[in-house]
Symmetry: C2
Subunit: 473 residues, 2 copies
C-alpha cells in the first residue's frame, strides 16, 4: 500500500506491501533510508508522527516507533528533547554514479603474452579436488591460518619442486602466496628489512613487476639482457643488492641464462650479500631439452624462487609459492600475515591433492604437447605468410619474439605502435617489445607474441591477417 505525504520537502512515496516476503518493518526502514539518502526527504525535514504514519500505512504504531528508533540509532533521524522526529543534517548523500565503463576493444585473435590455454583448465579435476577439500578439511583448519601456508601443501609442493624443478625445497622455508605479484612483494618487503634499497630488473622485463618495487619505495635499475641472459657485470656495477630474474626462459626475450653467468651471478650474490629473486614462470614447458632446473637449487641461500600455477593451471586461481632463503623465511611469512593473514585454505588443500594424485604432472605433460603444437603452428604460419620475420625465444613457454624487418631506421616504438594499431583494426591483438624496455630506451622493432591461448587454426588465421604489416614495405 503506497502512501504519500507532503512535508516541507517534496512529496514522499513510501511503499510497503504485505505480500512481499520481506517483513513490513524492514520494508519501511529501507524505504525511509533510501528516501533520505536520495534527498527525497531533506535535511531537517519533519517526519509524520508515528501515530499518523502507522494509520496511513495501516500498520501498527509500535512498528513505526521501532523503525524510527532504529534509524535514529543509525544516524538518519534525530529527535531532540521529545520534539518531532526530523531528518539528520548529515544524512544527505549526493548521487553516487557508476564510473564510465572502459571502451570495449573488439579483439578476435589475441596474441597477448602470458595467458595459458584457458580452455584446457582441468575443471573436473579441480572441482573434485575442491570438493574433497571442502568435505575432509578438519574444522580447525577453517579458522586458524598458517601464514606460511597449509603444512600439507608445503610438504607436497617442496617434494614436487625438488623433483621437477631441481630445487632445494624445504617445506619449513616455503611460503604459499597469492601468485607471483604477491610473492615478489613479500620477498622485497623482507629484503627491505635487511637494508635493501635498490632492486635490479632485467631490461627488457615485465613492467608490472617494477611497479611493485616502486610502490614499496625501492629504487629500480635496469640491467641489459643479451643472448646469454642478464649481463652480470653490468649488474655488479649497480648498487642493487637484489635482482629479479627469469633465468630459465628470460621474459620476454626467451634466452637461457648461460652457465658461466649462473656462476658469476651466484658469486656476485655471495660477495655482495645480495639476493636473487627467481621468477620461475614457465620452465615446465621446454621443447629443446629437459626443463632447466631452477637456479635456486644451486644457491638456496642466495636465491628466492617464486612460482605459481598461473601458467600451469590458470591465473584466476591466484596460488603461488616462495622458496625462501632460510634467513628470510620468517620475515616473508610475517609480511604474508600482515598482507592477508594467509592464502585460502580450501584452494591450498585442492592444489596439494592435485599434486599428490599425479593429476598435476599429467596435466603438464598434456599441456606441453598442446603448446608444442601451437608453437609449430606459429612457426609454420610465419614461414608461410611472413618469411622475413625472425622468431626467437621459442625454446620454452608459450610466447615468442618476432623481429620486424622494418629496415627503415625508425626508432622501435613508432614502428611497433603502427603495426599494433593496424592489427587492432583487423581485430588482432599484438603487443610490442617497447613496453618491456626501461625508461626511454629504444630497441629494434619487435613484437612479443603469446600463443598459449590460441588454437593452431586461430594462430594461422591471425598471422595471415597481419602478415603484410610484419613484412618490409
Amino acid at each position: 500500500m503506497p502512501i504519500e505525504w507532503t512535508g516541507s520537502g517534496p512529496e514522499l512515496l513510501l511503499n510497503v506491501d504485505r505480500n512481499r516476503p520481506e517483513p513490513l518493518r524492514d520494508q519501511l526502514e529501507r524505504a525511509l533510508r533510501e528516501s533520505i539518502r536520495a534527498g527525497r526527504l531533506s535535511t531537517g525535514e519533519r517526519l509524520p508522527s508515528s501515530r499518523a504514519l502507522a494509520r496511513d500505512l495501516g500498520i501498527s504504531r509500535g512498528l513505526v516507533t521501532e523503525c524510527y528508533a532504529q534509524l535514529q540509532a543509525e544516524g538518519y533521524l534525530v529527535t531532540q528533547g521529545g520534539s518531532a522526529t526530523r531528518v539528520a543534517a548529515t544524512a544527505q548523500v549526493s548521487s553516487v554514479g557508476l564510473p564510465p565503463s572502459p571502451p570495449t576493444e573488439p579483439v578476435r585473435i589475441d596474441f597477448r603474452p602470458g595467458i595459458p590455454d584457458l580452455s584446457s583448465f582441468p575443471r573436473e579435476q579441480w572441482s573434485r579436488a575442491l570438493r574433497r577439500a571442502c568435505r575432509e578439511a578438519p574444522s580447525d583448519l577453517l579458522g586458524s591460518l598458517d601464514p606460511y601456508g597449509d603444512p600439507t601443501l608445503r610438504e607436497v609442493l617442496a617434494a614436487y619442486l625438488r623433483r621437477v624443478r631441481g630445487a632445494a625445497a624445504d617445506p619449513g622455508h616455503t611460503v604459499v602466496c597469492a601468485g607471483y605479484a604477491q610473492g615478489l612483494h613479500l620477498v622485497l618487503r623482507a629484503l627491505m628489512d635487511g637494508g635493501v634499497r635498490t632492486v635490479a630488473f632485467e631490461d627488457p622485463g615485465d613492467p608490472d613487476q617494477r611497479a611493485i618495487a616502486e610502490m614499496l619505495g625501492l629504487g629500480v635499475v635496469g640491467v641489459p639482457v643479451d643472448e646469454g641472459g642478464v649481463d652480470v657485470e653490468a649488474l655488479a656495477a649497480t648498487d642493487a643488492r637484489a635482482v629479479v630474474l627469469t633465468p630459465t626462459h628470460q621474459s620476454p626475450t626467451g634466452v637461457l641464462l648461460a652457465p658461466d653467468r649462473r656462476q658469476a651471478l651466484i658469486a656476485w650474490a655471495t660477495t655482495r650479500n645480495a639476493t636473487v629473486i627467481e621468477d620461475d614462470y614457465d620452465a615446465e614447458f621446454r621443447y629443446d631439452r629437459a626443463p632447466v632446473g631452477a637456479l635456486q637449487g644451486l644457491a638456496p641461500h642466495q636465491v628466492a624462487l617464486v612460482g605459481s600455477v598461473s601458467k600451469s593451471l590458470a591465473p584466476a586461481l591466484r596460488l603461488g609459492w616462495i622458496l625462501s632463503p632460510p634467513h628470510l623465511a620468517a620475515a616473508v611469512a610475517h609480511y604474508k600475515q600482515l598482507l592477508d593473514r594467509g592464502s585460502p585454505v580450501i584452494d591450498q588443500l585442492a592444489l596439494a591433492d592435485l599434486l599428490e594424485s599425479g593429476h598435476y604432472d599429467r596435466h603438464l605433460r598434456h599441456m606441453r604437447q598442446r603448446y608444442a603444437a601451437r608453437r609449430t603452428a606459429l612457426v609454420e604460419a610465419m614461414r608461410r605468410y611472413a618469411p622475413d620475420v625472425e622468431l626467437s625465444g621459442l625454446a620454452a613457454g608459450f610466447h615468442t619474439v618476432a623481429r620486424l624487418p622494418t629496415g627503415t631506421g625508425e626508432a622501435a616504438d613508432p614502428a611497433e605502435q603502427a603495426v599494433i594499431a593496424a592489427g587492432r583494426q583487423r581485430s588482432v591483438g599484438l603487443y610490442g617489445m617497447s613496453a618491456y624496455l626501461f625508461g626511454s630506451r629504444r630497441g629494434p622493432a619487435q613484437l612479443v607474441l603469446g600463443f598459449g591461448n590460441l588454437t593452431p587454426a586461430a594462430i594461422a588465421e591471425g598471422v595471415e591477417t597481419v602478415a603484410d604489416l610484419l613484412q618490409p614495405r
Copy 2:
C-alpha cells in the same frame, strides 16, 4: 643398481633403479644434484668420465652425457676446454634445516575471540557452489582478472549490503579483496596517495590492524572509547585524517556508537576532508534489536566500509569487500592490482552463488540462533559459577568483555596475565584486554572472551574450570 666411486672426496653412492617409474636419466640427474648440494661431491671434485660412469651404472653413455650437459647448463658442473667435468665452485650448499616448530599449547577449551563456529561452516553448500563455478565459469574469466573483482559478485554483494546492512552500495565502487586485513591495507594505500599521514584507531582496538598501518609507514594514534563509542572530540584533537572504527559493535568493548557521535563523526570527516574506515565485522549477529545499519549508508563519500566472510562463513576463505568512497575506488582497485592482481575467481563466483541462492541468508539466520544459545550459556555459566564477574558488550557478535573483580588496586596487566597463565595450566585459553590497549596504557583487569566456536557444554565447563580465578580472592 647402486654404485660407489671414490674421487678426491668422500665415497659417493649413486642409486639408479630401472624398476622405479622415474626415467633413469631423471634419477641420475637428481642423484647427482643432491650429492653436490649435500656436499657428498665437493667443489672442484672431478666426476668420472661419461664412459666410466655409464659402464658402472649399466646405462648408455649418451644418457650420462646428456645428464652432465643438463647439470652444466644449470650451473652444478663445469667443463673447461675439453678437460674433465668437475663440480662447480658455487654449487655447494650448507645444510638447510627446518626451523624449530612452535611449542604446542594444550588448550582444550579456547575462548579466543574472533573465531566463528567452524563446525557450522556450510561445507556441502560451499562445495556445490564451487563445483558450479568450476563447471560454468566462462574460460575467459579464468585468465583475465578484474582488480575490482568479478562483476557478478559485485552486483550481488552490493544488493546484499544495501538490503541487509543498509549500505549505499554501488558495484562500481565495490572492490573484492582477500579479507579485512587486505581491505584495510588497500584503503590506507589509497588514502596515502591523497596525503594522509596519520591514522587514528580505537583504543582499545585490534593491535593487528595498527601493525598494518605501521608497515605502511603511517603514524598511528589511539582515540579512547567509552560507553558511547569512540570519543569524537578526542579524535578531532589529533592530526589524523583517517580513522578506523567498529561503529556497530566496538571491538573489543562491544559498545554501539551513539547517534550523536555518528553525526559528530561525519561532521568531522566532512570538515576535515577525512575518511572513516568502517570495520563491519559481526553486525549481522545482533540480539537486542535489528542489526544496526552500516555508517557507510549514512555517508558513503566519507566512509569506506570493509567487510568479509571471516565471521559469517570462515576465516580460511579469505574473501572480503570494500565499499569505497567514489573518489577512492580507482586507487583502491589500482593497489589491489599491484598487490595480487585480483582475488581468486572461482571463490568469488561461489560466493555470488551462495548470496543469490539465499543460502547465505539462511546460514546467517541459523548462526544467529546458534550464537544466541552460546551467549545464553555463557551468561548462565557466569551467573552460576562466577556471579561477581560483570559481562558487557553482549548485544551483538560472539565475544564479551568480563571485568575481573580483582579489587586489589593492581594494574591491569599483571592481574590479567596471572589469570591467563592459571587458565592455561588448566587447558583453558583466556585472553586479556591489555593486548588491545595502546602503548603503555593501563585499564581495569578484563578478559575478552570469544564464545563463537565453543559448544554450550564447553562454555559451561570452561567457565566452571576457571571460575575461582575470576572471583575476588
